[in-house]
C-alpha cells in the first residue's frame, strides 16, 4: 500500500489530473500538433516563402492591427460599461446586462451581415458617416468595428466581478482623505482592476485575431487592403493547398500563443504586486 506524501482536502487529485491531461490533450494538443505535421510537408524555403508573401504580410498587419485597435477600444468602453452596470441602478439595467452578452451568442455571420447593412453607403449609419467623409464598410475601419463588436463581452465580463468586489467605502475613504477623483481612480481603483482589465484585453484580442465569420462580410476582401489572415487561409484551401494553409495557420498559432504567454506573465507579475500591497 502506498500512502501519498501530501494529503489533499479533496480526494481524487490523480484521477482528475489524468482526466485533465487526456481532455486537453485530445481536444487541444493533438489537433494543434496535426497542424504542425501538415506543415512539415513543406520545405523550409517553401514555408518561408508562403508565410512572408506580400499578401500574407499585409494580412498579418491588418489582422493584428485591427484586433489591437478593437481590443483597446473595448478596454476603454468596456470598463465604462462595467462601471455603470456595477455602480448605478437605473431603469433598463437588466436589459443592458443581457445585451452585453449578445455578441457572444449571436452567430458571427449574423453580426457581420447586420453591421455591413448598417455601415454600407446606403445603411442607417453609413449614409451619414460617408457624408462626413468616413467610409466604414469595406475598409479596415469596418473590420475594427466588427472586431470591437464581437470582443465587447470579454472586457465587461472580466472586469465586472472585480468591480463588484470593491467596496464603495474605499473610494469614500480616499475622498475623505483628500484624494481627487483622478487620484482615487489611478491610485485606488485602477491597481485593483488592472489584472482583470488585462485578461479582458487579452481575451478580446485573441478572439478578434481568429474571427472570420463577421469580418468577411464587412471587409470586402480586397487583396492587400482588406484581406484578413483567416481569409487567406481559406483561399489556400480553395486551391487544395493544405500545406500552405497550415503554414499560415501555424504562424498565427505561434504568435497568438506567445502573445497569450506574455500577457499571462504580465498579469501574474502585476497581480503579485497588487497582492503584496499592505492593507489590501
Amino acid at each position: 500500500m502506498s500512502t501519498p506524501a501530501r494529503r489533499h482536502v479533496l480526494p481524487g487529485f490523480r484521477l482528475s489530473l489524468g482526466f485533465t491531461w487526456a481532455y486537453v490533450g485530445l481536444l487541444v494538443l493533438i489537433p494543434l500538433s496535426s497542424l504542425f505535421l501538415k506543415t512539415f510537408s513543406l520545405t523550409w524555403p517553401q514555408f518561408w516563402e508562403t508565410v512572408t508573401a506580400p499578401r500574407a504580410l499585409a494580412a498579418y498587419r491588418l489582422s493584428f492591427g485591427a484586433s489591437l485597435v478593437a481590443a483597446l477600444v473595448n478596454v476603454v468602453f468596456g470598463l465604462l460599461v462595467a462601471w455603470v452596470l456595477v455602480r448605478y441602478r437605473f431603469p433598463g439595467r437588466s436589459l443592458v446586462e443581457s445585451l452585453v452578452d449578445l455578441p457572444f451568442a449571436l452567430p458571427t455571420a449574423v453580426a457581420g451581415l447586420t453591421l455591413t447593412t448598417l455601415f454600407s453607403s446606403k445603411g442607417w449609419y453609413g449614409q451619414y458617416l460617408e457624408a462626413l467623409g468616413l467610409k466604414v464598410a469595406y475598409t479596415s475601419v469596418g473590420i475594427a468595428v466588427a472586431l470591437t463588436f464581437i470582443g465587447l463581452p470579454f472586457v465587461v465580463r472580466t472586469v465586472q466581478p472585480v468591480l463588484e468586489g470593491l467596496d464603495a467605502d474605499v473610494e469614500e475613504a480616499a475622498a475623505t482623505l483628500g484624494a481627487t477623483p483622478w487620484q482615487t481612480f489611478t491610485r485606488v481603483l485602477f491597481p485593483a482592476i488592472y489584472p482583470a482589465l488585462l485578461s479582458g484585453f487579452t481575451l478580446a484580442f485573441a478572439r478578434a485575431l481568429g474571427e472570420y465569420g463577421s469580418v468577411v462580410f464587412i471587409s470586402g476582401n480586397m487583396p492587400l487592403r482588406t484581406e484578413i489572415v483567416p481569409l487567406l487561409i481559406v483561399t489556400k484551401l480553395e486551391q487544395y493547398d493544405y500545406a500552405g494553409a497550415t503554414a499560415i495557420a501555424v504562424v498565427m498559432l505561434v504568435t497568438s500563443f506567445l502573445l497569450l504567454l506574455v500577457v499571462n506573465l504580465l498579469q501574474r507579475w502585476s497581480h503579485r504586486r497588487f497582492e503584496v500591497r499592505p492593507g489590501a
Binding site: 490523480r14 482528475s16 485530445l26 453607403s121 487583396p223 481569409l231 480553395e238
Partner: protein, 343 residues
C-alpha cells in the same frame, strides 16, 4: 496505482467508442439512402429532383430512396468529401473540384468526366449581367464594364468557384474579340477588376452586396442566379443583360465510386444521375433556371434562355486544371493583378 493514467485511457476509449457507430446500413432491405453533396444555389433544384426520382425509383423497383442533401461553397464541399464525408454523389460548380476527388483522395477514376453525356454536366448555365431597373448606365456588353463610371460587383475568384467562371468569361471574351491576344485579355481583366469595389467571398454574398446594399451598377452572375434575383428576390428592381459572348458554365455531376461500392449503392446512384438527363430531370433543371441539354425541353422554354455565342473552358483554356493553375493558384494571373505596384 497510476489512477491518472487509467482515467486518461478511459476518456480516450470513450471518445473512440463514440465514433464507431456508423455502418453499412445504406442499401439494406427495402430502403436506401443517398447523400448528394452539392454547392449552394442548387438547393431548390435538388429538392424537386429528389422527390421526382424517389417516385420513379419506387415505381420501378419497389424500393424507397431517401436522398440527403448537403450544400455549401463548391470547393468547401469537395474538401469535405476528400476529408471523409461519405457522399454517394457530388454535383459541384466546377470540374476542377471534382478532379480533386481523384487527385487528392483517389475516390473516383481520372476519366470520370467521360462517363456521362455532355462532359458529365446534365444542365448548363452561362455568365450574364444584372443591372438596376431600366439599365441607367446603358450596359450592353463586356466593354461597358471597363467604363470609369461603372462599378462592377463580382466575388473573389480565390474563394468562390462561381467567381472563377465570371473571370474566365471576361477573359475568353477579350481573347476572342478581333485582335485579342493573351496580353490584351490580361489587360482587359485587370481593368475590369479595377472597377470592382468589393470582392465578396461567395456568389450569394455578391448578390446581397448588389441587391441589398445597393452597391455597384452591374452584377456579374450565373444566369440561374440572375433569374432568381430578377424574378423572385427583387421583383421589378433589376434587369438581366445578356452579353454578346460568354462562357458555357458546365456544373458537373459524378458518382463517388469508392463510397457507392462500399455502401452498395452504385445502381441507385447511377440511376439518379441518369435521371438528371431524362425529360423530367431536364424540365426540372429548366424550371430552376438552368439551361437544359435536351433540345426538346429547351425549345419548349422558348425565349427564356436567349441565344448567345458560348465558348467552353476546354476550347479557350484547355480545361479546368490548366485554367486553375494559370489564373487562380498562388502567383497566377489573378494574384499578379493585385501585386503591389512600384509607386
Amino acid at each position: 496505482m497510476h489512477s491518472w493514467l487509467v482515467s486518461s485511457l478511459l476518456v480516450v476509449l470513450a471518445l473512440v467508442g463514440c465514433s464507431k457507430s456508423s455502418g453499412a446500413d445504406a442499401a439494406s432491405g427495402n430502403s436506401v439512402t443517398l447523400l448528394n453533396v452539392s454547392y449552394d444555389p442548387t438547393r431548390e433544384l435538388y429538392v424537386d429532383v429528389n422527390a421526382a426520382f424517389a417516385r420513379e425509383w419506387e415505381a420501378k423497383h419497389g424500393q424507397k430512396v431517401s436522398i440527403k442533401q448537403s450544400h455549401g461553397g463548391s470547393g468547401k464541399q469537395a474538401r469535405a468529401v476528400i476529408d471523409g464525408l461519405e457522399a454517394d454523389i457530388v454535383t459541384l460548380a466546377l470540374a476542377y473540384d471534382v478532379d480533386m476527388l481523384h487527385d487528392k483522395a483517389s475516390l473516383i477514376p481520372e476519366a470520370w468526366q467521360a462517363r456521362l453525356p455532355h462532359n458529365s454536366a446534365p444542365y448548363t448555365s452561362t455568365i450574364v449581367f444584372v443591372v438596376r431597373k431600366g439599365n441607367p448606365k446603358g450596359i450592353r456588353d463586356w466593354e461597358d464594364l471597363l467604363r470609369e463610371d461603372v462599378a462592377v460587383i463580382t466575388p473573389n475568384p480565390k474563394t468562390s468557384g462561381g467567381a472563377r467562371w465570371n473571370y474566365l468569361a471576361a477573359w475568353g471574351y477579350a481573347l476572342r474579340k478581333p485582335g485579342g491576344t493573351p496580353d490584351s485579355a490580361r489587360a482587359f481583366v485587370e481593368t475590369l477588376f479595377r472597377r470592382v469595389p468589393v470582392l465578396d467571398s461567395g456568389a450569394r454574398g455578391s448578390t446581397t452586396t448588389f441587391a441589398e446594399r445597393g452597391l455597384g451598377d452591374v452584377l456579374i452572375a450565373w444566369e440561374n442566379e440572375a433569374f432568381l434575383l430578377t424574378n423572385e428576390v427583387g421583383q421589378g428592381r433589376f434587369d438581366i443583360v445578356v452579353p454578346s459572348v460568354s462562357i458555357l458554365a458546365e456544373p458537373p455531376v459524378a458518382v463517388v465510386d469508392r463510397h457507392v461500392d462500399k455502401r452498395g449503392t452504385r445502381a441507385v446512384a447511377e440511376a439518379y444521375l441518369q435521371f438528371l438527363y431524362s425529360e423530367e430531370g431536364q424540365r426540372l433543371a429548366a424550371k430552376h433556371h438552368y439551361r437544359p441539354r435536351s433540345e426538346a425541353v429547351a425549345s419548349k422554354e422558348g425565349a427564356r434562355f436567349p441565344k448567345l455565342k458560348l465558348f467552353t473552358i476546354d476550347e479557350v483554356f484547355g480545361g479546368w486544371r490548366k485554367a486553375q493553375a494559370a489564373h487562380f493558384d498562388d502567383g497566377g494571373v489573378f494574384d499578379r493583378i493585385y501585386v503591389p505596384q512600384a509607386r
